[in-house]
């Protein structure tokens, strides 16, 4: 007798029912993310309306109506303003950016010598890219190339004055080149100096501790704009006539010290987050102070404060535009300087130039930010 003959037991397999329609596809995604509840639906519709209201005119202004080429203000001015565009026209003046692009990159650096900063820029990208990708080997050689060879080469090539290269004084430097040199030096100096200052401030040696605290508090307590202004305006009054310090060098030192003081506090935050057990563990292994810091404490502390470090870098990158108050023209400075060229004066020139400068700054800052996010994931050892 077949015991499976009970009426409540199925004799055949049930037909597979179709998958719920809403676990995949665009419709499901839309429903889950945009129209899940009446409130979501209302917000979605409002957002779409706002976008529809903002985006097409922006695209119209930025791209479709924009003046892309031309040799003077005529292409960016209406007939009433003495130009060639129809009355009531408004669009971005990319012709201005186009015509001044070399200046935005190099400032007033002599045209026939511009291959020098261009070469440094290419080498910078060549050395930096493998440094940023964790899988690429030979990090030591790469670091030497980037942090020793490149600065020395820059010191030879950018100012010139030896090996038959004509001397290009720093007042002629400008544009993106100045922004990048200032921020690169600032970043390269501020990280190690900031770590040393943070360690000094946590040190048990009273003199070191006092000096580091004093440096940090004084530098952090004065606005950068004041430091730059004092360095450029007041310093020459104290020096004997004829003795001049290069303005660019003064700005470089000011910016580097400034970033170091901020960096020191960021690193100190990381040091404080490391449990006492880590220090004691290192001590009980018989490690020296520097071994303890290098092998145990700093790797953990720095990893914790990556967002803070990158935040300081981004702040530093944007702070470099303050040098325009001491008569140096960084990217923003040179863009603004060119507004005064009456051959390009028009209603849309300033806004176009500022959008361009803003875009370049955003590009660099966003790049740094994304890279820091990537590093956080790579270094994540999931103690969280």
């Amino acid at each position: 007798m077949n015991t499976h003959q009970a009426t409540f037991v199925r004799a055949s397999m049930i037909e597979a029912s179709p998958a719920p329609i809403q676990t995949g596809g665009l419709a499901y995604w839309l429903r889950k993310n945009l129209f899940a509840t009446p409130k979501d639906t209302a917000l979605t519709i409002i957002s779409l309306l706002v976008l529809a209201w903002l985006v097409p005119p922006a695209i119209q202004w930025l791209f479709i109506d924009a003046a892309w080429t031309g040799g003077g203000r005529g292409v960016c001015a209406t007939v009433a303003q003495g130009g060639s565009q129809p009355d009531g026209w408004s669009g971005a003046c990319w012709a201005f950016v186009n015509a001044k692009f070399d200046q935005f990159l190099f400032g007033r650096y002599p045209i026939e010598e511009r291959w020098r900063p261009a070469l440094i820029g290419i080498l910078f990208i060549l050395f930096l890219t493998p440094m940023l990708i964790p899988k690429v080997p030979y990090k030591n050689i790469n670091a030497i190339l980037l942090l020793v060879v490149l600065p020395i080469l820059s010191l030879i090539l950018l100012p010139g004055g030896w090996f038959g290269l004509p001397f290009v004084e720093t007042p002629l430097w400008g544009g993106l080149m100045v922004t990048l040199v200032l921020s690169f030096v600032g970043i390269a100096v501020s990280l190690p100096l900031g770590i040393l200052l943070a360690l000094g401030r946590k040190s048990t040696m009273p003199v070191i501790k006092m000096l580091c605290t004093f440096f940090i508090e004084v530098v952090r307590g004065i606005p950068l704009i004041t430091v730059l202004f004092m360095a450029s305006v007041m310093l020459p009054l104290f020096l004997p006539q004829g003795v001049t310090f290069d303005k660019f060098l003064r700005a470089l030192i000011g910016v580097s010290f400034f970033a170091s003081a901020y960096m020191a506090e960021v690193v100190r935050g990381g040091l404080q987050a490391i449990g006492k057990g880590q220090y004691e563990g290192a001590d009980s292994l018989g490690l020296s102070y520097w071994q303890k810091m290098n092998l145990i404490v700093l790797p953990q502390a720095l990893k914790l404060v990556i967002p803070g470090i990158v935040n300081t870098f981004i702040g530093l990158f944007k702070d470099t535009s303050l040098v325009s108050i001491i008569g140096m023209f960084d990217l923003l400075g040179i863009v603004r300087l060119n507004f005064s060229d009456s051959n390009w004066a028009s209603a849309v020139t300033p806004i176009s130039g500022l959008i361009f400068a803003g875009f370049i700054f955003w590009l660099f800052c966003f790049g740094m930010s994304r890279y820091s996010g990537f590093m956080e994931r790579v270094l994540d050892t999931s103690h969280k």
């Binding site: 305006v233 007041m234 009054l237 325009s324 051959n343």
Partner: protein, 341 residues
């Protein structure tokens, strides 16, 4: 604490100025280093602005070139120091620049207390008003209650306050830090009136969306004589800067231009011969510490005053500023040079 340190530093700096002012012979320094260090604006349309290839050009810049040409017979031997409004005076006091050609108004305070010398006025400017035609205003005296766009931290702002106070008029200042902000605010209709120096009104006109809807009121409420400034205590250098300007004026009066200067040397007019240093036994330049050809070199480098004006700010430029007060004395203006004799 920081303030006390600052006070001490400023005090020391002011004493330092006294010491520097005593050091003489700028001309010798300039000849020794081989170029003129010239303080210019950090960007002002028509006066000091970058050209297509990034070189400085403009009305004030041409004065720097002219001074260099007078000394070295080469208008390119100049190095420019762009200075902000705050930086310009310390830069000249400290000797960082040899001459300040930066649309600086000659005032008694700057001439005396700050320790500078001004003499020639290379551009007579004055503060004016621009309004929308729709307001139906014919005079600045009808502007009671108006919203006035003005750049903060300038003498313009102070003149405006003085003018409205002395005429018992009310006004609402709408102030901005940057010039382009003021321009944009006026163009967007955030204020009824725009006030700045007249030369600035001309450059503003280039950037308005509907230039024909605006008019400049007849009132000029301030005198703004602009000219090159030098440190006190060096009369020779002061004379050179002064006479470079007068040579430009004189050249225009004689009809000597950049193009015809070599030809004019053959002129039979004894005044022209004397001016161009071709007179026998001429000491016209050597007494200044220069060569007798100095005026020729200046004109070869930049042309005469009229040419400099036209090229940078006048009819030959987008600004199209009228000569007005800056016409020669015999053409209705007040630009006048003492005799070259």
């Amino acid at each position: 604490m920081a303030r006390r340190i600052l006070t001490a530093l400023v005090g020391a700096a002011v004493m330092g100025i006294g010491a520097h002012a005593a050091s003489a012979a700028t001309l010798d320094d300039v000849k020794a280093k081989g170029f003129v260090q010239c303080g210019v604006n950090t960007g002002l349309a028509g006066f000091a602005a970058p050209d297509a290839s990034g070189n400085w050009s403009g009305f004030d810049v041409d004065y720097c070139k002219a001074i260099a040409a007078a000394i070295f017979a080469d208008g390119t031997k100049v190095k420019y120091t762009p200075t902000s409004a705050k930086e310009r005076f310390p830069a000249l006091q400290s000797g960082e620049v040899d001459v300040l050609a930066r649309n600086t108004t000659w005032t008694i305070n700057r001439d005396t207390a700050l320790g500078f010398n001004f003499r020639p006025v290379n551009y007579y400017d004055g503060q004016g008003f621009m309004v929308r035609k729709g307001l139906n205003v014919k005079s600045a005296l009808e502007l009671s209650g108006a919203a006035v766009c003005v750049q903060t931290g300038t003498t313009t702002e102070l003149n405006l306050a003085d003018y409205f106070k002395s005429n018992n008029l009310q006004y609402n200042p709408v102030v901005f830090e940057k010039l382009e902000e003021v321009n944009a605010a006026y163009d967007a209709g955030r204020c009824d009136v725009y006030t700045t120096d007249q030369s600035g009104l001309y450059s503003l006109r280039l950037t308005l969306s509907k230039p024909d809807d605006h008019m400049i009121l007849p009132e000029i409420i301030s005198k703004e004589p602009l000219g090159p400034a030098v440190r006190q205590g060096d009369d020779q250098w002061y004379d050179i800067v002064t006479w470079v300007h007068y040579s430009l004026i004189q050249a225009e009066e004689f009809g000597v231009t950049q193009a015809n200067v070599e030809e004019m040397k053959k002129s039979t007019n004894p005044d022209v011969q004397r001016f161009l240093g071709v007179e026998a036994d001429s000491k016209i330049g050597t007494d200044l510490g220069l060569t007798n050809e100095w005026a020729v070199n200046v004109i070869k480098a930049v042309g005469n005053y009229g040419e400099v004006f036209d090229r940078n700010i006048g009819a030959g430029s987008p600004l199209k500023i009228e000569r007005g007060l800056n016409a020669l004395w015999n053409k209705g203006g007040i630009q006048y040079a003492p005799p070259v004799r």
